[in-house]
Structure formats: structure tokens, C-alpha cells
């Protein structure tokens, strides 16, 4: 909850105008943090992100790095219908459809890239997917990488099932 703090803009009194006393008060704050950090590391507020992260709460888990689900036979559930790419407000999903000759599910994503450096983590792609093929529940928060390419997810990096998968939802599944 954000609190509103009203600033009191009264004129400075003599002690404040002398300045030295106020500086000394400031030093006390710095010194307190220094000694707390030195002697009780458990109370440090700052987190060394990205090496350390805080556990995510509730719905926040559903706004983490994408993944593409797989069917039990190891094929991607995604059928390259382009609905996620259409819904994406950041235009960061790039898909190229391929044709399955061996499976009744005629269509699969030959290319499926998500550019996380442009993604706004809105979750619209998950919402739009009619095949329940894309999810944002990996609990990995993107960012804190050293190379731009690490923000670019390709199909093979995205394909990953979680414990409990594969789900059976999605119209094309009956054909698989």
C-alpha cells in the first residue's frame, strides 16, 4: 500500500540553518545501517538480484518467463495459429508455421521466438491461446542477463513441461 506523506514546507529554524546538526543526524542514519549490516546480516533489506530472488506470491507466478507445453508424445502443443502473436501488444512473438506430414495435427510451429527484451509480461498470449499451449508459469523472472541473445527465446528453449503436464485441453489434441 502506498502511503501519502504530506511535506511540511515551513521555513527552516535557526538550528537547521546552521546545517552542522542536520548533517550529523544524517550521518547517524548511515552509521546505523552500516553497523546493522555488519553485525546482523539477516536484517539487510537489499537483495543481490539476480543471484538471489524473493519467492513470488500468488498471481505473480503467472507472469513469469514463457514456456511452450508439450504433448505426451513430445510434440509441441502449439499449432502455430498465430493468436498469441495477434494478441501481443509488444509484437514480440515471431512464428513460422510448418506442416506435419506424419501427424493428423497438420500444423506445428517451425519457428517460435519470444523476444523477452520487448515483452511487457502482460500475459495476453496465454489468454489468447486456444490450445493451452503457452504458459507463463516457469517462475523465472527474465532480465539480469549479460548478452542480448539471452533475452531471445527460441522454440527449443521454450519447450518445457512442468510437473503435472501434459494437460489435455485444446481442440487439436484429439488429432495427436
Amino acid at each position: 500500500m502506498i502511503e501519502i506523506k504530506k511535506v511540511n514546507n515551513r521555513p527552516l529554524n535557526l538550528l537547521e540553518r546552521i546545517y552542522v546538526w542536520e548533517i550529523f543526524k544524517g550521518f547517524l542514519v548511515t552509521a546505523r545501517h552500516f553497523f546493522v549490516n555488519l553485525f546482523c546480516p539477516g536484517k539487510i533489506i537489499t537483495i543481490q538480484y539476480p543471484e538471489i530472488t524473493r519467492p513470488l506470491e500468488h498471481a505473480a507466478k503467472r507472469r513469469t518467463r514463457h514456456r511452450l507445453k508439450m504433448r505426451a508424445n513430445g510434440t509441441p502443443k502449439c499449432v502455430a495459429c498465430f493468436l498469441c502473436a495477434t494478441a501481443c501488444p509488444a509484437f514480440c512473438i515471431h512464428i513460422e508455421a510448418g506442416e506435419f506430414t506424419s501427424s493428423q495435427v497438420e500444423k506445428y510451429p517451425a519457428v517460435f521466438d519470444v523476444d523477452l527484451s520487448r515483452c511487457v509480461m502482460c500475459g495476453m498470449c496465454v489468454e489468447a491461446c486456444p490450445e493451452d499451449a503457452i504458459a507463463m508459469d516457469t517462475e523465472v523472472i527474465p532480465g539480469g542477463v549479460l548478452k542480448r541473445e539471452d533475452m531471445y527465446l527460441t522454440r527449443n528453449k521454450l519447450l518445457q513441461n512442468m510437473p503435472g503436464d501434459p494437460s489435455i485441453k485444446g481442440a487439436a489434441n484429439r488429432l495427436a
Binding site: 495459429c81 498465430f82 495477434t86 495435427v105 497438420e106 487439436a172 484429439r174 488429432l175
Partner: protein
């Protein structure tokens, strides 16, 4: 003439018109699947039911002829219920494959479901009848029987338009399905029209399949340059790529489009598309190649006189490009050896669309011939075969069309203008590429004398320019420019031909 009132609006139409046509004239939309303005009425889908006064039950608008004093309504509760029920029947066994269906986005089932249906399916997915999926049907089509709603538009098209009768409805009642007749295969010259007129995703195009979702496509009207018919088309493109061509019906030219015409866009992406010039079989940037071509022209004129150079017009090129060729001969090379005479047999070949003449602009070339005269084709061939000619400037397909009549060209140098390598029939000292008809505006005159123009939809590869620009640059390098540097100059010069 009978007078009919639909939803309170009245109209007079000649006897024989149907309620659906009357509604269309009044601007009232009646949903339909099996009705198609260019095919016979079959009345199989029942989607167009309307209420007619004094009729005991709902009538189908596509097959009911209007009568004087008839009063029809399309907005009553009974009509709405009928539409909803028809949709529920049509969708009872429908797979709802939309995510893998190419029709999604332009599917009447989707559209009408949102407009009139919105029902919950009462048939569980596992109880739906399963049928054959993605069955290959001829060169260009794929048939998915599960998605078919048995409107028989495809059957009627093959029976009435192409008269090749490849399709039929097999089986009875709810086991009926669209089938290819025994011993036939669906490969008439117009088969891709079936993918288009199928209101659902049962017939889809193998060529367009999965390439792009239809809602991403932008559309622009243009003209097909596959033959002299001059069919009007709609180019569907996105992000500088053409994905498919569709007919843009025009009573003067076409309702349908032939398969070959639909595939003309392939030249743009073909592996042998010329993106660079060729000089003695070596690839070269376009600008230096133009200078090289100018050098060849200068050399020939200097050594053996301007009369040793021939310039050919082409029935495959637009009026603009032929004008530039004619100007190149007259102004720049100052040779009288210009040939604009390409007599071609014209006329509808198969009684539908395809023309005997596969060149789109033989008649446009005649307009230029009236102004620039030039040699007759016979005289030209004689001249070339006589051995007095040292250099030919020509468009690739025009030169190829004379191949049989010409003797060995090996000791004549050529500057050839081409879009793809496969058009090249001759070894050439210099090949210059130019922008295709999807990349630049050009005027064409079809076999009936109708003047039409193509509209650019995508950009030409880097550095590739319209032919008239290429020729203008070429002429500047020879020192006698034809002055066709920008579109305004071009417009002024061709205005006399495109009145």
C-alpha cells in the same frame, strides 16, 4: 414488374428475381452458404430462411422468386431462431479446427456463429462424426471432409463453370461427403477458385496453406498480367511479401481467376529472380552494368553505324516500358531499326477466361506502333538473319518468342532485360533486371481493348528499378538521354496513349 416489400422497404424488380436478390438490392443482408451469384441455386443450406406473409412456413430467400405484393421479413423471432438452429445443425459434427484451419478469419461459420449462433454445442467433441482430413485433391487443393457443410458450391463450380465434373456428393444423409469422382483428379485450370468459393475451410489452397493468417493480409486491387484477358485481381500481401492473388470481379473482365494467373506472383520470390545484373555471365551491380550496356551500344554505333543496332518492343511489357524502349531507339540510338510488331492470336481459349495470347499487352504495343511505326516483324527477322545487325536490345520473353525464326544469334551481342533467369533463352553479353508488375505501376491493354493499370503492392529488391528508369539511365550514359527520370515526366509522355 413485381413489387416486393422486405422489412418495410419496397422495391420493383423484374419477374424471376429472388427474395435474396431483392434484399441485396435493398441493402438488407441475408446470411447464406450455398448461394453464389455466379452459380445455380441449390437451396441446400437453409441459412437464408425468411418469413413470407401468407406462406405456412419459412421460405428460403435464395430460391423463392418474388411475386407482386409479396411481403417478407428477415428480422422476426422465427427467422432468428431458424438461423440459430441451422447453425447448430451445421456445427453439430463440425470439428471446430479453427486454430489449424486456414479459413479462420474469413470463415462464414465463424462469422455467422458470432452474429446469429452463440449457442453451446450439445454434441460432445468425442461423439462427433470423424471423417477424412487433409486429403490431397489435385495439384493445388487440400480437402478436409470434417469441415465441409455440404453446400455443394464446389460441385456446382466443377459442373457449371469448368464443366469438368470432378466432384460429387457421395453417401447418404448424415454420412454424405464431398468426393472426387472415380478416375478423375481435381486439376482443371481453375481449381483454386474452389478454395475461394468454399465458404468454410474444407477446400484450402496448398500453396497458401499455413503461410500467413488472413487477418494480417493487406489487400490492393491490380491487374493480372498472366495473359491477354487482363483479369482484375486483388493482391494479398504483408510485410513486403505477396501471399496470394484473388479475383476482383469485374463484369468486363472476370468473375474467377485461373490457376496460372494466381501463381504469377511466384516469379517475385523465385530462386532465379534477378536481383543483380549479369555481364558475360558474371554477376554485377546494376549501375555499372547499365554503364557497360551503354558502352556496348556506343561501340556498336561507332564501329558499324546506328543502323546495326535493333531495339525490340515487347507484348509482355507495359505501355510505359515499351515507350521507353521506343524512345531509346528513336532519340538515343537514332536507329530506325525499332520493331513494335508482334502479331498474336487472341481470343478466349477455353470458353472461360484463359486467352490464346499469353502476353498481357499486345494491344498496348499496337498503340505505340501507330505512333512510332518501326519495322514489321518479317522485315526485322530478315534484317537480323542477314547478318548486318551487331547488337540487339530486347526484353527476354519477346526475343524468345522469335527464337524459331531467328538464325544463330551467337555472333550478335544482346542487351537483355529480364525479371527472372528462367525467362532467359539466349546467352547474353549483358542482362539488366527490372521491377516486376507487382512492384511498379504499368498500363496494359487487354484483348478487348480495355486499358487497365497494375498497382504496386511490394517493393522491388534493393537497387532494382522499373524498366523505364533503367532505360532512362542507360540513355543518359550514351549521351542522348530520353528524359524519363521521374513519374511526372513519364505521366506526361504516356498521356497520349492512355486517354
Amino acid at each position: 414488374m413485381p413489387k416486393i416489400t422486405i422489412d418495410g422497404k419496397t422495391i420493383d424488380l423484374p419477374a424471376g428475381a429472388t427474395i435474396l436478390q431483392a434484399a441485396q438490392a435493398l441493402g438488407i443482408y441475408i446470411p447464406r452458404y450455398c448461394y453464389h451469384p455466379a452459380l445455380s441455386v441449390s437451396g441446400t443450406c437453409r441459412m437464408c430462411a425468411v418469413e413470407v406473409d401468407k406462406a405456412p412456413k419459412l421460405q428460403i430467400a435464395c430460391a423463392t422468386e418474388i411475386a407482386d405484393g409479396m411481403i417478407a421479413r428477415t428480422d422476426t423471432a422465427a427467422v432468428k431462431k431458424a438461423r440459430k438452429d441451422v447453425l447448430e445443425f451445421l456445427l453439430a459434427n463440425h470439428p471446430v479446427d479453427c486454430p489449424i484451419c486456414d479459413q479462420a478469419g474469413e470463415c462464414s461459420l465463424q462469422d455467422y456463429y458470432m452474429d446469429y449462433g452463440l449457442h453451446k454445442s450439445r454434441v460432445a467433441p468425442e461423439d462427433k462424426i470423424q471423417r477424412s482430413k487433409h486429403r490431397a485433391a489435385g495439384r493445388y487443393l487440400v480437402l478436409d471432409n470434417e469441415r465441409c457443410i455440404l453446400c455443394t458450391r464446389c460441385v456446382r463450380f466443377c459442373d457449371e463453370v469448368t464443366k469438368t465434373n470432378e466432384l460429387t456428393v457421395s453417401g447418404r444423409s448424415d454420412a454424405s461427403f464431398i468426393d472426387i469422382r472415380e478416375g478423375k483428379s481435381l486439376d482443371n485450370d481453375y481449381s483454386l477458385n474452389i478454395a475461394e468459393l468454399c465458404p468454410v475451410g474444407a477446400f484450402t489452397s496448398r500453396d497458401f496453406r499455413f503461410k500467413q493468417r488472413v487477418w494480417f493480409l493487406k489487400r490492393i486491387k491490380s491487374v493480372c498480367t498472366g495473359c491477354a484477358a487482363g483479369c482484375n485481381i486483388e493482391v494479398h500481401y504483408n510485410e513486403n511479401t505477396v501471399y496470394r492473388l484473388m479475383p476482383s470481379p469485374n463484369p468486363e473482365t472476370n468473375t474467377w481467376l485461373c490457376d496460372r494467373g494466381r501463381m504469377t506472383y511466384k516469379a517475385l520470390q523465385a530462386g532465379d529472380r534477378l536481383r543483380k545484373a549479369f555481364v558475360k555471365k558474371g554477376s554485377m551491380e546494376i549501375e555499372p552494368a547499365i554503364r557497360h550496356a551503354a558502352h556496348l551500344l556506343d561501340e556498336a554505333a561507332r564501329k558499324t553505324g546506328p543502323e546495326s543496332v535493333v531495339v525490340l518492343g515487347s507484348p509482355y511489357l507495359s505501355i510505359e516500358d515499351n515507350l521507353a524502349l521506343a524512345e531509346l531507339a528513336a532519340t538515343s540510338l537514332k536507329t530506325s531499326n525499332l520493331c513494335l510488331d508482334f502479331p498474336r492470336e487472341q481470343g478466349v481459349k477455353d470458353g472461360i477466361l484463359i486467352n490464346k495470347d499469353d502476353a498481357p499487352d499486345a494491344n498496348g504495343l499496337k498503340l505505340l506502333k501507330a505512333r512510332y511505326a518501326g519495322l514489321d516483324q518479317g522485315a526485322l527477322i530478315e534484317l537480323i538473319n542477314s547478318g548486318r545487325i551487331k547488337l540487339i536490345v530486347a526484353e527476354a520473353r519477346a526475343l524468345s518468342s522469335l527464337k524459331e525464326k531467328l538464325r544463330e544469334l551467337s555472333n550478335i551481342e544482346t542487351v537483355i532485360l529480364a525479371v527472372t533467369k528462367s525467362d532467359l533463352d539466349f546467352e547474353s553479353a549483358c542482362v539488366l533486371p527490372y521491377a516486376a508488375n507487382f512492384e511498379t505501376e504499368g498500363h496494359f491493354v487487354n484483348y478487348k481493348g480495355l486499358l487497365q493499370k497494375t498497382t504496386p503492392s511490394v517493393a522491388a529488391p534493393d537497387g532494382v528499378k522499373p524498366l523505364w528508369t533503367v532505360l532512362s539511365k542507360l540513355s543518359s550514359c550514351t549521351g542522348a538521354p530520353i528524359r524519363l527520370e521521374d513519374a511526372a515526366e513519364l505521366r506526361e509522355r504516356i498521356s497520349e496513349f492512355i486517354k
